[in-house]
Symmetry: C2
Subunit: 545 residues, 2 copies
């Protein structure tokens, strides 16, 4: 009754590794042999995970992959967190790969859309990060993983250091299902600062010709923060953080949240909120959080990944950050996403479009940008069972089975770049879904998950609205002169303000004229460096002094 073999995957792995034995010295492959090795280790139709977190890219391996012969390696099914580099898409144009499952495509979103239209690229599904990692263990189990680490020793043990990110998740799914794990490292050394991944999970290590690509994605120059950002930030601090006593949270990467970070040690300090709000974070090491950390606002931060230039600062602040015995940051995207979903009380983010029901998306016409971590952080986790003050504060019903919910806060200006309305009748995502032939529209955060929308006009406490129509009215009350905003009704707004479903600055004790750049704890990157006592070392493009 039993089938002939239960070890087909393992046998195939053994066969493939044997085929490159002549190129290997233990676990080490010479970098000039990488293309030949990939041609031997990959088979047509393989599922290949290529590491591209949003910051850290296995750039040597992605270049090598795009150099293999499509007559030998083709029809690959690529799995990637982030489509970030040109060769991530070149492999499709060259006929090496044909299908992709991914999470985020920021820098390449325009080209992704075009290639779908041309039929060069077949989309599997678009995911939030954690969802994609989950599928690596169920129905997207990889045949081959191409990942990046800082250093390896000669036994193949890996040091991923400050930028551990998603490397452990990818390797685990591959290594323990008889897939082949190929790692590019910046350096092969005799002794590692610490071991992040044991050598027995790794098959091939190759020293790259240059360090893996690493982008400073979470660095926001305070110089770019406007008084509008500051006004939104002040309202959010008073009307959300203070009102609900939010202690654990995650911030997106926009200027609105950067403004909040820089207002904590000044504006929020004057309100007497230190220790009462925003103490426990899940967040990349945002440079704009340095003043708050130095002022004693921040108890702990668990990081999804590192941030270029923050290495020394983080290493010098182990009471706040998670670090290893060697002193450097430990980031782990999978655990940070779990914590960001289940263990923090609030997500604060921004978006490009919001419809009348508070559905939002960053997928706009002609750009299939994907989601990243926002859908995971920006929803109420229905499996959550623990309570906290902020979470319980969201209860609006007197049902004895009522439970709290996560605060999901959208902070946006009513117009992008001053002229494109953020509040729209219908999301472009609907049109994009049709063009890309997606089964569902690529909505980033669904309206029924959103609790607060903050604009320069005020705050809509949408979680408090009774019924769909009142939700829409609350939203239109803060939507300014956008199409949605113009539909608002002064009398209804007045009643919503009285019931606390909408608050304008004056309702929160804020004067619009107070919102000045002088409130920012740091006005520019140089200030951040000074706050850090010289430990923060910003990338060249942020240095202009």
């Amino acid at each position: 009754m039993s089938r002939t073999s239960w070890t087909t995957k393992r046998d195939e792995k053994t066969r493939r590794l044997k085929s490159v034995a002549h190129l290997m010295n233990g676990a080490i492959l010479k970098n000039r042999d990488i293309v030949e090795a990939l041609e031997l280790l990959l088979q047509p139709g393989d599922r290949v995970v290529l590491e591209g977190d949003n910051q850290k890219q296995a750039s040597f391996l992605s270049e090598a992959l795009s150099a293999v012969s499509p007559s030998r390696v083709n029809k690959l099914h690529m799995i990637m967190s982030s489509i970030s580099r040109p060769e991530h898409l070149d492999v499709f144009e060259k006929g090496i790969a044909e299908k992709i499952d991914f999470s985020f495509a920021g820098p390449q979103s325009l080209r992704v859309s075009q290639m779908i239209e041309d039929g060069t690229l077949k989309i599997g599904e678009i995911h939030t990060y954690l969802e994609l990692y989950g599928r690596l263990f169920i129905d997207l189990i990889p045949n081959v993983a191409l990942v990046a680490a800082d250093k390896a020793d000669r036994s193949g043990n890996l040091y991923t250091g400050p930028n551990t990110e998603e490397t452990p998740a990818i390797i685990e799914a591959t290594a323990f299902k008889d897939g082949i794990v190929i790692v590019q490292v910046n350096e092969i050394v005799d002794e590692l600062p610490r071991i992040d991944i044991p050598g027995s999970w790794v098959d091939v290590v190759v020293e790259a010709d240059k360090p893996y690509q690493l982008e400073a994605l979470f660095t926001r120059d305070p110089k770019m923060i406007t008084e509008l950002h500051i006004l939104i930030g002040m309202m959010t601090i008073r009307g959300v953080y203070e009102k609900h006593q939010v202690k654990s949270l995650n911030h997106g990467i926009g200027f609105n949240t950067a403004a909040i970070e820089l207002l904590l040690p000044t504006y929020a300090e004057k309100l007497g909120l230190r220790g009462k709000i925003a103490t426990n974070w899940v967040l990349n090491p945002h440079p704009t959080l340095i003043p708050a950390i130095e002022s004693g606002w921040v108890e702990t931060i668990h990081c999804f990944g590192g941030e270029v230039g923050m290495e020394q600062y983080v290493a010098a602040r182990p009471d706040v950050f998670f670090t290893g015995r060697d002193g450097s940051l430990r980031s782990n995207r999978a655990f940070a996403q779990v914590a960001g979903q289940y263990a923090v009380d609030m997500f604060v983010g921004s978006t490009l479009q919001i419809d009348k029901n508070a559905n939002s998306s960053t997928v706009v016409s002609g750009r299939l940008a994907g989601f990243g971590g926002a859908p995971n952080m920006g929803h109420d986790p229905k499996g959550r069972r623990h309570s906290s003050q902020a979470w319980l504060d969201m209860i609006t019903s007197d049902d004895p089975l009522a439970k709290g919910r996560k605060l999901v806060v959208q902070t946006v200006e009513t117009f992008q770049n001053g002229n494109t309305p953020v509040f729209v009748d219908s999301l472009d995502a609907l049109e994009v879904a049709k063009q890309a032939n997606l089964a569902t529209a690529p909505v980033m955060i669904y309206g029924d998950d959103v609790t607060h929308v903050v604009t320069e006009e005020g705050i809509a406490y949408v979680y408090k609205a009774e019924g769909e129509e009142e939700r829409r009215q609350a939203l239109s009350a803060v939507a300014g002169v956008t199409p949605i905003g113009r539909a608002s009704n002064a009398k209804i707004i007045q009643s919503l303000r009285e019931r606390g479903v909408v608050a304008y600055p004056e309702d929160l004790g804020i004067q619009r004229t107070e919102a000045r750049r002088s409130l920012l704890a740091a006005k520019n990157v140089k200030d951040l460096v000074e706050w850090s006592e010289g430990l923060y070392n910003p990338p060249a493009k942020f240095k202009n002094w």
Copy 2:
């Protein structure tokens, strides 16, 4: 501006480790010194994670902890997945610990309730597993971890082998925030079969006097499966698995799901469903799944943990299970929970009470049992963005933004043990919440997350019901002669059956008399051993031949 020290946690760790230096030989502590070492390594008020998965217990360390002097170690805040052993609660009676955050308390649930009433035990919060792991990185960061592994080498590298479970998650949160990691191992060896945890994450290794406790929690003897279980199983296969073409799934541990597992190679095979349903699983290695695996039903299984007796069988089936280079199972509870939440289309479980709105709980009067993984698996993950046939099949609206949802299936007999009604007017959980002073009632799965309820009477497709009242009617239609069932209305039921909101066996083409034990692929544990070609080695208590 900066505070005096940013390394208080690290300095304290160094101080504590120095205080036991005289007892240590490298990373190794002699087992007779464990109590003294714990008295030196622990401080009053510490947050201590004690590993108690539901199967695997750090039993040597929990016994040692309960032997420390409460005058030296007290006011501990315990964090435990599972309250399973008597000494897990003894430490509270002895004044060593005072507060607990946990997930599951099955075997000790009665005593937990009593101790809360007596004021001996202070409950923090009750969690689903993944939620608890998330909090280890945010607001429940441990000072000390007490965990269990199979083997260590003299450098402190660990082999957790088939029972990796939650060890990596606990160690990561502790080791990388300057906490102290103490590990009991069954054996210290010169060379490990593979490295699961690098030694640089581990502080103290102690060889236990006997192997850690390991329970065969997922073993269901086919002999105990009744014709009622089989009838429910047949209906579930036809009316849920086949109807919605469900390929990826998780099963709970009850007899209803064991029956389904044993019906796949017989009943479902006859229906021609092999390869069409139930191919990709997240599941402990259930012995009752052996016949389905051997018959080619199962493509892959990712495991939360191991199962006693299944080690050899799993090692011989690497095409199906995740295994390491040494050949033994790799389980990882954190990743399996992520996959179980986000990457599978269906959860099928059972419960002790269901109310008229389909809310359910295993917390019943006087027993604070907690949740385990059910809330995580048994809800619709709002962050999910990928689609599948089964998921899309749940769409009932024509809103262009409509998306699919996870199938959350409750399979229950209308009466427990033949006389306690499962369908009740009000959950005992409400009363328990009051007694234990919980902020919210301990509901395991909320009614609005449930899509199907299957009983021996039929299937309620509650996701299809229009409005709350119709949902209740659908539920009552399958609730038999329980108080809820007696409230049903024959005319409404008829209309619900016509619209496919309710299905009775005859609607599914099933005759009640077909439900016979002869349909089971294995009738007893011995049959399972035979199916496994002798590779499954059941624990003594299941061997009676």
